[in-house]
């Protein structure tokens, strides 16, 4: 562990530890992204992989929303598909189209051949970016590392891309359960090593994105998503873990009580009251502003944020969107979102 600047802003870590705060911390999923003109400038100059794999660039991009808005957390600029890459799968990207895996896994044989790699070596650039960023943050905001959840990574590794129904990955799980479990286990162990390396490099909390969890019914979630999320949460004892199972409203209770998570991220289809009641008001919650609502006029954004804080409560709460910020949001609308939290008075 390196010697990092002293924290001046502990809001996020306090909320994650359940300590009392005067106002909730705030950050935005995908806050370093296409809605920012300064990001678009770098995007014109450097390819996606150059941006992700050049530590200086990734750190600069991570810092952009910090310098502009001053949120309470920075999330390292990277992509969940670095894990399939580390596992030996090719990932391509046409800007604006989303990433693709041109040679996804299609057979049990392919799946069973996948082994846990030396992820800290393969993805050293992420760790370097974290260290640079942590220093550059100078304690102004907490630094969050992240990874995709095993189920979501499996979806990409088998579908090759996003899908409407994820029929292929489900078919794989139903008809080749041993190969699917092997892959999920390998992804899980790789992810644990990856998150530990991120923590060692400076990440002060980690978030696990289960973006496609909501495609699973409650029982499939128990079989194909929950055990791996749980293993990760139990293995990461160094820093708080945030689990974000998009769409899995039905899993809030077991994620909060049966894992080692410090916080659960919720999307906007869940009311604050439901989320608090499902988790018996005993865990930190993060979310859940509908990203589309950042298209409302700034005064309505601010009113919406204030109302959301009142409903979740100030304690054990991290203000965030319910999913990543959309590319077409006016910058000052994102600013209004952050400002509303900083101006909040109970």
């Amino acid at each position: 562990m390196q010697d990092f600047p002293e924290m001046q802003n502990n809001l996020l870590l306090k909320a994650l530890r359940g300590e009392s705060v005067d106002r909730p911390p705030v950050w935005m999923m995908r806050q370093a992204g296409r809605y920012l003109p300064e990001y678009m400038e770098l995007r014109r100059k450097y390819s996606f992989f150059e941006r992700v794999e050049t530590p200086e660039l990734a750190a600069e991009i991570t810092m952009q929303p910090i310098e502009r808005f001053g949120p309470d957390a920075a999330i390292i600029f990277s992509d969940i598909l670095v894990i399939p890459q580390a596992l030996g799968l090719e990932v391509t990207l046409n800007e604006g189209e989303g990433p693709r895996l041109p040679n996804p896994i299609r057979t049990a044989q392919d799946a069973l051949a996948i082994r846990v790699p030396d992820v800290a070596d393969r993805l050293h650039y992420v760790m370097e970016a974290l260290t640079i960023t942590r220093k550059r943050l100078d304690g102004r905001a907490a630094l969050i590392g992240f990874a995709g959840a095993p189920w979501t990574i499996l979806c990409y590794m088998i579908e090759g891309r996003g899908s409407k129904d994820f029929a292929r990955v489900k078919q794989f799980c139903y008809t080749q359960p041993e190969a699917a479990s092997h892959l999920l286990e390998v992804i899980t162990q790789t992810t644990i090593a990856y998150l530990k390396a991120q923590i060692n490099a400076g990440a002060q909390a980690v978030q696990v994105f289960d973006s496609w969890a909501g495609l699973l019914g409650p029982e499939d979630f128990s079989e194909w998503a929950f055990p791996y999320l749980n293993t990760i949460s139990q293995a990461i004892t160094e820093v708080p873990v945030i689990l974000y199972p998009k769409g899995s409203w039905y899993a809030l209770e077991r994620l909060s009580f049966k894992t080692n998570a410090a916080a659960i991220g919720v999307d906007w289809t869940v009311t604050p009251e439901y989320a608090r009641s499902a988790t018996r008001n005993e865990i930190t919650l993060q979310g859940n502003f509908d990203p589309s609502k950042l298209m409302l006029p700034p005064d309505q954004i601010k009113a919406g944020v204030t109302r959301m804080i009142k409903r979740f409560g100030v304690q054990r709460y991290i203000v965030n969107l319910g999913h990543g910020i959309l590319p077409n949001i006016p910058v000052h609308h994102a600013g209004a979102f952050i400002d509303a939290v900083k101006e909040y008075r109970a």
Copy 2:
């Protein structure tokens, strides 16, 4: 109202009326579709619009799963986008890609210019197909008519196609609420007239598909989806109405108690126990087998169906998938699904 053959199979209508049955009725959403070789044969000969707009062809396609599997209901072969067509919007289709509206609504002015058409005249071919089908069914199965829900139709009319986040239609609603409400009102009135014409032509129940309801948070659902679903359900007094709000688990209670619906369709992210408890066991429920699970071996499909019936209960229940059947399902797997219900003994 015409003189139709006497019903020999009243299972669906009994379940919809809450009358006692020996086993639940069964049908499958999109049961006339691409997984059927006899459908693929017609698909090779006739374009999508020929299939939808030629009453004899639409009737023949509707009958295909009836002749093969003998489910308890036939749903007329058509498409929810006939309503945007009737409202004057162009709809195109490249086979395998899903439909597109190449000139979607983009301004308040465009929206406010849309008026309720003479839908029975514009869509006369659907009514003709219903009448032919009803006669051809000869009472062996109930005939279901359908339409898209106003919110889902609005999504297509503004996005022009399916979308990952439906940011454009939400932006339209948030920034042009009067134009959005006008459109939703016009779609609602058109849909009511359309469903009444379908009933007059032979439909014995109607289903309203809110395929994109789950993209809305609970409060947006209250504003942009619920009132229009409710208006439709109250206006259709002639036959039972099934509301299918995909993804809107949080709305089950109000849909069952505050509308005039006879049944609510549920997707597979909802457990039978949750659905029964949210609707206080007072309404007929329909669903909710994960369509991907039809890729399991037939004996596992049958075990899953039996278990599902036990959990929902035999009364006030219609066995169905949680969404449309997928194109790559082996035909005999679909048969196993239907057979499992027919073989069910309490």
